[in-house]
Amino acid sequence: MLRTGSQIVWDVLGQEGVGCVFGYPGGAILPIYDALLGSSIHHVLVRHEQGAAHMADGYARASGEVGVAMATSGPGATNLVTGIATAMLDSSSVVFITGQVSSRVIGTDAFQETDITGVTLPITKHNFLVTRTEDVGPTLRKAFHIARTGRPGPVLVDITKDAQQGTHDYEPDEAPVELPERSPRDTLTRDALDEAAGLLSSAKRPLILAGRGVMLGGATELLQDFVERTRIPVAMTLLGIGGFPATHALNLGMMGMHGEAWVNRAIQTADVLLAIGMRFDDRVTGDPTKFAPAAKKIHLEIDRSEINKVIRVDVPLVGDLRETLSQLAPRVGTTDLSPWHRFIEDLKGDTAVRDIQTLPDSGHLYAAHVISDLWNLTEGRALVVTDVGQHQMWEAQYYKHDYPRKLITSGGLGTMGFALPAALGAKFAKPEEEVWVIVGDGGFQMTAAELSTCVQENMKLNVAVINNGYLGMVRQWQEFFYDKRYAATPMSNPDFVKLADAHGLPGFRVEKRSEIAEAVSRARASRETAVIDFRVEKEDTVYPMVAPGKTIEDMIRRPVPVLE
């Protein structure tokens, strides 16, 4: 069948099960957009290509499928870059399709020409430049295969305009994609499994560190069965939240820089650590040379290059997580861990008295209250997408996620402006879910233009702006480490209620805790995207905090309140 390269693009997207594509047209991708009219795939017109990238990422994270974003050459493609890097650091499976100038003029600095495969080389799992129509189909199929297999990641396919316009006798290829055989050294040996199981079976203070790989590897149920049988407590990375139920008695909560103090103390006290699908990010380890010094470390990972990258491990087990865990779990015996559980409980008590939730209502609105009330009001079932900063950490601390893929957040890259577009992408993936955007006033303004996309697409989100008039997390660092010199962190904002109004959307303002429930209920009742401007305490601080370069047990704690 004679098809143009552009038609083949949509054919392959359909074949790969893509329901919607996020993008922005332009000269070098016009043929593909022209062919869109002959396709049943839904296209979402964004307001900035960065929005398209984050939407495709949010779609991928919420669904577990591959997200797709499109842009034209040059500035269109470079506007995707932040979103590509975000997907790369959080192992999100996204295929990016960009138009490129005609192959005849490549290399001449033609209008809107950028070497986007060169630009994105370090931030993609792989990328392709396609200059011939007959390569369009096979290359795109390869891109989907690479994006979703192994450790997931972003793949970019740059297609020249002449390759889009040319015709080719095309038949859909149903055969599975095959890449040349590669043979990395296998570490999933019987000896290694036995050694890991031996360490865990004889441990007195074992601890599991669970990351996003647990969800990516489809190992959530396996992990829960394993934990309930062995009674080994679990600490979560930020991106691992939801991989093990937050309200489960053996879930300690988040570890690391803003993890609870008892979690970090438990890690430092542990004699065996089982790290599953996590990569010892510096936000998790603090000073890596003093991380869990007494513990033997076992690392379950799909990506061999994560082994010994930051923390030296004693037993690496490289492979598909579900496969690895299902082989390891039955070999691990159970021991009485009640002294270890009691030790951790004692640490918890010390933290409880410092919790802001125990402070009397001072009339001020605290972000922690907002998040905690939101958790109660949505019965813990909302799909929450956060931006980056203080509100992100409060969300991680106070919204108790019991279900996988219900917290979407930019962890590795820490991308401000991520939340609103990523939430819109997540809503496309899971239209039946109640989606909440939790975003700071700074990050909201970076991509607030996508409210307009919500309107055009008639998509219902709930946007909670945690508004403290500061770049809050940076201000906090200035407070602790720069002698309260608040350089360029106070931020004047537009009236977010009026901003919603300008989009024809309902907006509410909340200034007291007593007003939270009503605003949340009105936002939820609205059939349109609703914005709530939460005017929270301006100089509130995320506690506890590990200062950069310190060990994770050396934490800055919220002072114990003096009760009268």
């Binding site: 495969t117 060169g118 080389l121 370090p122 799992k125 792989h126 430049l129 690479i146 890449l179 040349p180 055989e181 590669r182 043979s183 990395p184 050294r185 990506d303 061999r304 290059s305 082994i307 010994n308 990258k309 030296r312």
Partner: protein
């Protein structure tokens, strides 16, 4: 685990497609691994290229380099041949100042190293030498007093000796 940094040689077989060398070099740059020598050339198969990388690394970094190379989609096979019996060759072209008064003396010296004269002009000679890095270095030391006008080297090309060698 050996925590000493020492010279390591990697033989990497890659798909012969545009941009592969860029991907390999970019990986080293991005991860701050310093390349001492990098050579690329054809193999007996038109779709496969042979890369030899020499760097200084301890065991941990060497194993990370290998793992990271495997993550590149175009990489087919990676072998750390640092500790296996291996043939490693460097080719150098060395232009030395020489006139009728010392030409035969210089050629005699070079003969000891089995270097070949590949060009003669009234004021200079060009030698070609192939061998281990040490051997090339020694010749350079001997020729230096006469006046080296120009030198170009290929970098190391390496191959493991046994049948357990690298293949796709």
């Amino acid at each position: 685990m050996d925590t000493r940094s020492r010279p390591r040689t990697f033989v990497v077989l890659v798909e012969n497609v545009p941009g592969v060398l860029d991907r390999v070099a970019s990986l080293f740059r991005r991860r701050s691994y310093n390349i001492e020598s990098l050579t690329v050339g054809h193999t007996d198969r038109p779709d496969v290229s042979h890369i030899t990388i020499v760097m200084n690394a301890d065991d941990r970094v060497a194993s990370l380099v290998e793992a990271n190379l495997y993550k590149l989609v175009n990489v087919l096979e990676v072998k750390d041949v640092s500790d296996v019996a291996c043939v490693a060759r460097d080719l150098a072209l060395i232009k030395v100042r020489a006139d009728h008064s010392n030409r035969s003396e210089i050629m005699q010296v070079a003969e000891v190293f089995r270097a070949r004269v590949v060009d003669v002009s009234p004021e200079a000679l060009i030698f070609e030498i192939t061998g281990s890095e040490d051997k090339v270095e020694s010749l350079v030391d001997v020729l230096r007093p006469y006046g080296i006008l120009e030198m170009a080297r290929t970098g190391i090309v390496a191959m493991a000796r046994s049948v357990a060698a690298v293949s796709v």
